[in-house]
Symmetry: C2
Subunit: 313 residues, 2 copies
């Protein structure tokens, strides 16, 4: 609720009972919220409870916040009843524009306009979703990564009629609710994470299609090679560390020409001075100017933990 | 040595004292081998020892094999002396073709032709490297991922004059020596892992160049989103699990059209029946037909461990 502080939210409504909607419900329960799920049909209840109980095993292992309990969960197939106490709504219905438009039209009428409605959509634009909503200011896209109760990322962007304060409020809310929100600068298909993931996926498909690698080899290459690093650092920081004392600047100046090599089917952008500096400055800022020894120790310590974890299996 | 079993190798020579050559030396020492490093110049000795001692902190933490000791390390700037007791040679000199050709010519004369010489090259072809080598059969590319003492991947391929038995022997040797070798089916620039990594990297550069994301947002998107999964499973198995009970088949049949969406600048290959089936069969084979519940539990348990590890920091 925009007239309420994000930290005062107690009651969350999750609309949709699939893996994303159910995953969100589990996440919010583990964070100590009172959660009501709206189900399209009562027959979905069984699968939803199985999903939440399965998630709970993992969530207990990570550690619940004080007061978190499955007893704080309720469900209904009555939309008005599902949303009457809502102080925040997380919508995760199927990715069909007409369905979402109809839902947001209805929610726009029955839900207090001060309550934020966040859509888990991975491919639709809020500008399109909010088109028939009478109270669009408080609607926003908040795309999680599956499973939402184990991966913290939430990519956010508003639609044309979303109020900037809605983005600010929701970003703050997600931080309090144990997520890592990322407010996009521009609307771009696939947001950031899906685009990066899709680039790998398409290159992998090319390799299988060309007989250059098997499915198993692709997976082995990732899990035994760059994969463990990506759990710890993103591609930019990895090269910033890979550049040694010289950091990203050394990397780009030394290996810039490699961008012309056919090391993937993806053509690289031109490495202009502007792009070079954006990468270098971005790395220094992101790492708060930490030196190579510190960053390298952080990376190695993390890889040691992952190696030990894998050895135990 | 091809006339000796891979499990009987005791003495390894590492040629080159940079991050890769030094990283290999540390790895082999931790595996209990007697290691001799060849240094181009005695002045490199200090930096090499710092690198090995730094690696040793991580290696002790993971756990050394019985008998592993830094006392098993020696070094020299005399190539003949460095290689006289070698039962396996790991070469990691700079990526300059003429340098490698000259070295392999020399090694081809002074080293017992039964001793395998493996090159850490990431970009050169063994066909080119072995061109002046009188005994090329035992030469092979074995490309590690940095740091070689923490990431197990070794991508292998022979040159035109490499004997198939050299690949088989070396693959076996690496398995014994604690690495995860991957024998490539075809020579392809960047092997597998670097191509996949490069696809992500280029897409990231495009996003920064277009003002679609900052450096920090790209890294956050990976670390809080797909990154932790890649430490546990490759892109194929992730979608195989993501497809639920239906596995990869469901994924491709349902989301195949997404390959046409502009979710990255990388154009996807056409999803022919052949490619579809190669992906589906490959996943079933790789996972030994394990069901969704088992694979999903493996993924969640791993993500829980990574989440706990990150929370402790």
């Amino acid at each position: 609720m925009l007239n309420q502080k994000p930290e005062d939210v107690r009651h969350i409504t999750c609309i949709g009972a699939g893996p994303i909607g159910g995953g969100w419900a589990a996440h919010y329960l583990a964070q100590g919220y009172l959660v009501t799920s709206y189900l399209h049909d009562a027959s979905e209840h069984k699968a939803l409870m199985r999903l939440i109980e399965n998630a709970w095993v993992s969530l207990e292992e990570i550690g619940l916040v004080d007061g978190a309990s499955l007893d704080n969960f309720s469900w209904t197939t009555d939309l008005a009843k599902a949303t009457e106490k809502a102080e925040f709504i997380q919508e995760s219905i199927p990715e069909i524009l007409e369905l979402k438009q109809t839902l947001y039209q209805k929610l726009g009428e029955i839900v207090d306009p001060q309550v934020v409605i966040a859509s888990s959509t991975s491919g639709l634009s809020m500008t399109d979703i909010q088109v028939n909503c009478a109270t669009p200011k408080r609607t926003v896209v908040a795309h999680p990564f599956n499973p939402p109760y184990l991966l913290p990322l939430v990519e956010m962007i508003g639609g044309e009629r979303t109020a900037p304060e809605t983005l600010a409020w929701t970003e703050q809310f997600y931080k309090i609710a144990g997520k890592s929100p990322l407010v996009m600068k521009k609307e771009v298909p696939g947001f950031i994470a899906t685009r990066l993931q899709e680039a790998i996926w398409r290159e992998a498909l090319h390799m299988v299609a060309n007989g250059e690698a098997t499915v198993e080899q692709i997976d082995q290459a990732v899990v035994n090679g760059p994969g463990p690093r990506w759990a710890l650092m993103g591609p930019c920081e990895i090269f910033h560390v890979g550049g040694g004392e010289g950091g990203m600047a050394y990397c780009l100046d030394q290996f810039g020409p490699a961008l012309k090599l056919p090391w993937t089917r993806l053509i690289a952008p031109e490495l202009t001075d502007e792009l070079r500096n954006a990468m270098v400055d971005g790395c220094v800022e992101m790492t708060q100017g930490k030196d190579f020894a510190t960053l390298s120790r952080k990376m190695n310590d993390g890889l040691v933990e992952i190696a030990k974890m894998k050895r135990q299996k």
